[in-house]
């Protein structure tokens, strides 16, 4: 395993990232440990954020929540303020893997992994979240909608770390739904997932596992009834569907499942919005 650095301040952490060769941020460590064991991760240095104070904070206000990178996924599903302010995000975090993984995996590591199948990015895309990226050069803000640049690639520079994620509060009266479908065991990775937010005038859809990156689409929902909204959603999502065939399904099946997932999620969110 690479050398483990354990900085105790954020400044020290970004310094390390700027000077070390082949350094990688060690957050929750769940994904990294798996890759280490598979013998294919060849980082020379890990920069462990566990001892940096303040990175486990959740700040909540009427505008939204600001979440430190070392906050566990589990807290995102259980924290009352998160559940009240951004329930769609709480729902998506709840669906990741299993409770033990969610206890360990971190919000920052999860998004930095950039994997196309992860659940939380779908909700973060829909809610218009922002990633705070910090390096020795300072802190910049990256809209999540610009964060996923390629297959397991993100907008982060090698010397940057995720120092926070800010999620704007869900609008009052909006309807939301997170839907996830696996294609093999019930507890398998998703084969298609969709987070949907319906507000007074538009619908946002975040898609997981149906393309090489998490995808976001939106459309104007004014004047539509529920069936029209579903049709509009499927039409809007169509160009975003670009599934990778694998043991969990071929392209045709994954597209079909994505459409079912979108339809179910839009219907449920639409209904909640109407009833809400």
């Amino acid at each position: 395993m690479p050398f483990l650095h354990r900085p105790t301040t954020l400044a020290e952490a970004v310094d390390l990232l700027s000077i070390l060769d082949n350094a990688m941020v060690y957050g929750g460590g769940t994904a990294i440990q798996i890759l280490v064991k598979q013998g294919i991760l060849h980082a020379d240095n890990f920069v462990d954020l566990a001892l940096v104070p303040g990175l486990r904070d959740i700040e909540a206000g009427p505008q939204g929540v600001r979440v430190g990178p070392m906050v566990s996924l589990r807290r995102m599903e259980t924290d009352e303020r998160v559940r009240a302010t951004v329930p769609l995000a709480a729902a998506a975090y709840h669906h990741v893997a299993n409770p033990r993984v969610r206890n360990t995996a971190s919000v920052g590591g999860n998004i930095a992994h950039g994997d196309y199948r992860l659940d939380p990015p779908t909700a973060l895309l829909v809610l218009g979240a922002t990633v705070e990226a910090t390096s020795v050069r300072g802190t910049r803000e990256i809209p999540v909608r610009e964060f996923f640049t390629g297959f397991q690639q993100t907008a982060l520079e090698p010397d940057e770390l995720v120092s926070a994620i800010r999620i704007p509060a869900q609008p009052a009266g909006s309807g939301h739904r997170f839907e996830k479908n696996s294609s093999l065991g019930e507890n398998d990775w998703p084969c298609a997932s969709a987070a949907v937010l319906v507000t007074g005038h538009e619908v946002h859809i975040g898609l997981g596992a149906v393309a090489p990156t998490p995808r976001h689409v939106t459309f104007d929902a004014r004047g539509l009834d529920d069936q029209q909204a579903v049709d509009a959603a499927l039409e809007a999502a169509e160009p975003a569907l670009d599934p990778i065939p694998d043991v969990r399904g071929g392209v045709a099946y994954k597209r079909a499942l994505a459409r079912v997932t979108i339809e179910d999620a839009v219907r449920a969110a639409w209904k909640e919005h109407r009833n809400g």
Partner: protein, 153 residues
């Protein structure tokens, strides 16, 4: 080499570990708590579950240095009269038993967070543990029974 302190089932251990040493190996080789077992090595089966400060962790993916100072509980640390243990026993919730300590600790965590779980909540909390003998029905009943026992007290 790092010197860390782990409290395992109430006993303090002072251990020298490498950066890469996994909590699983410290628990098995140093603390001698062999109920913590490697089943998959990737956090997917739950056989290596340990409670750290009451929170479930896959010890096969956990760096030991990160648990310096932690209070750890393994299945050995639970009393035979513990509600969850006795419910598992009474419900016959073990065949070969290899995975059961992991289920036991997950159940403990669930009931400490949620004393009256629904059937779906029990399922949700145990989803990441594999019992290849297929003892799920008995385990599910045991968790519900433990919740009832606690409620009666």
């Amino acid at each position: 080499m790092n010197r860390i302190t782990l409290t395992v089932n109430g006993v303090r251990h002072f251990v020298d570990v490498e950066d890469e040493t996994l909590l699983l190996d410290v628990l098995r080789d140093t603390a001698g708590t062999t109920s913590v077992r490697e089943g998959c090595g990737v956090g997917a089966c739950g056989a290596c579950t340990v409670l750290a400060g009451g929170t479930s962790v896959s010890s096969c993916l956990a760096l030991a240095v990160r648990y310096d100072g932690a209070e750890l509980t393994t299945a050995e640390g639970l009393d035979e009269n513990d509600d969850v243990v006795s419910s598992f026993v009474d419900c016959n919730a073990a065949q070969c038993g290899y995975c059961i300590p992991g289920f036991l600790l997950m159940s403990r965590e669930l009931l400490s967070e949620n004393p009256h779980p629904t059937g779906q909540e029990i399922t949700d909390h145990l989803e990441g543990n594999i019992c290849r003998c297929g003892t799920y029905p008995e385990i599910h009943r045991a968790v519900a029974a433990a919740a009832e026992r606690r409620a009666i007290r």
